[in-house]
Symmetry: D2
């Protein structure tokens, strides 16, 4: 098993996120994943603003996938489990699990981000040192 | 009656824009107004990108209002009537009417935008000369 | 001064709610107003689901207006002040104030909702009795 | 190679779909895929409304994936290539390619939908006959 670090975020489902079938529209799960990533960053000293400002990097998504297992309705408070999984490549890999208010698994997913040098508009092939340092301290 | 110029845009309603009541969620009308403004700009040589690039201005919205009279459903192609109405102040005033696929009036609205000097972050109190020139040529 | 009741909600601004000017896109304020209304309902025993289920009513918006005074950025936690204001007509009138993380006023707004008998698809001209009872107990 | 049918849709990118990095926010690609599917359905006699009304079925998404290769900016008209790919299981499998205004590949993706009997809330294990008939006529 690769090293990892997990964080749990609770999100309240908005009326405007639900579709005519009275369930959360599948595209809105992307927002819940992003809520999970942002909250993970705040809790574990891994903030995009700092990555951006201090390291001159952006971290664009190059892959996203999700498997839908149940539906979510308006008014539910859901639980997003966001797990950063260690990877030898210069990538940020997150795995997600979303649970409904009954604690049933609703969705699993994965995103992959890369490191982009903002000034040169070049992808980094090797892992930036701040990420290596961070991983040593935080992943177990 | 103040001088004005009207442009008509057709917009296709997305599934994801409809809510559990099976109608377009009221907040999504803001997108239709924006579609109308953008199409107006293209048709009448009044593009935000140019205002931004050539004149160093942004045109933030300071007021928006809408009155809802009917509902819109998924799959409808609606008609957005966007009218720029002359105003003596340094403001861009648009009036909107949205019609459903049966040509019934669904919504009326209004937006007011001002001119912001991007570098100084200052509002312009007098009308920018490019806008005065444009109005002379286009409004009737 | 009409009687009223105020509730305060805090909302976290999402990355996906911000536009290329690096500020919350003006249309997304509609979601913050809705967050305010929903939280108001929970706190003060005024839930749309109950209105819908127990009284066979929906409460469509017929008017919305907003005045933008400042901008909001990604990562801010904003404060939505939602005030139900007494009105003699068969309408639900909310006033809103949004404050940024420095407690500066960002936006004011207003929505008006009416009572629609779901089965007959008819507007109610007189106030439903449950709303009159609720107002007697809650508005001051 | 499995049999397939491809349809091409053009979509105009909205200002409100772009994020502070001045590119389309990755979650909004889900809307472009949906635009592609809907347009495919209209062009090839495969409409969700009919599937729903005439066959008592809904077709929920159980899987979605996307690979991002380039970015898209405000104002671009993009091209969505939507390909229904034959599959022996009781599933609707679409593959997508999005091209920017220079005809460069921006994103590839895939969705899988299943057939849900609306009344019984049961998944269909065998392919519904209308879909088998449709595939015989349309896939090549």
């Amino acid at each position: 098993m690769p090293k990892s670090l997990t964080h749990i975020t609770s999100v309240h489902v908005r009326f405007s996120e639900c579709d005519p079938l009275n369930i959360v529209w599948h595209g809105n799960y992307v927002k819940y994943f992003e809520d999970g990533r942002e909250d993970f960053g705040k809790a574990h000293n891994f903030s995009y603003t700092e990555i951006y400002t201090e390291n001159g990097l952006s971290v664009p998504l190059i892959h996203m996938e999700m498997d839908y297992k149940r539906t979510i309705s308006f008014g539910e408070t859901i639980c997003v489990e966001t797990k950063l999984v260690d990877d030898p490549a210069a990538k940020i890999v997150f795995h997600y699990k979303i649970f409904n208010s009954k604690n049933e698994l609703v969705c699993t997913g994965k995103t992959i981000q890369v490191f982009l040098l903002l000034e040169k508009k070049e992808l980094m092939i090797t892992m930036p040192s701040f990420f290596e340092t961070w991983k040593k301290e935080y992943l177990k």
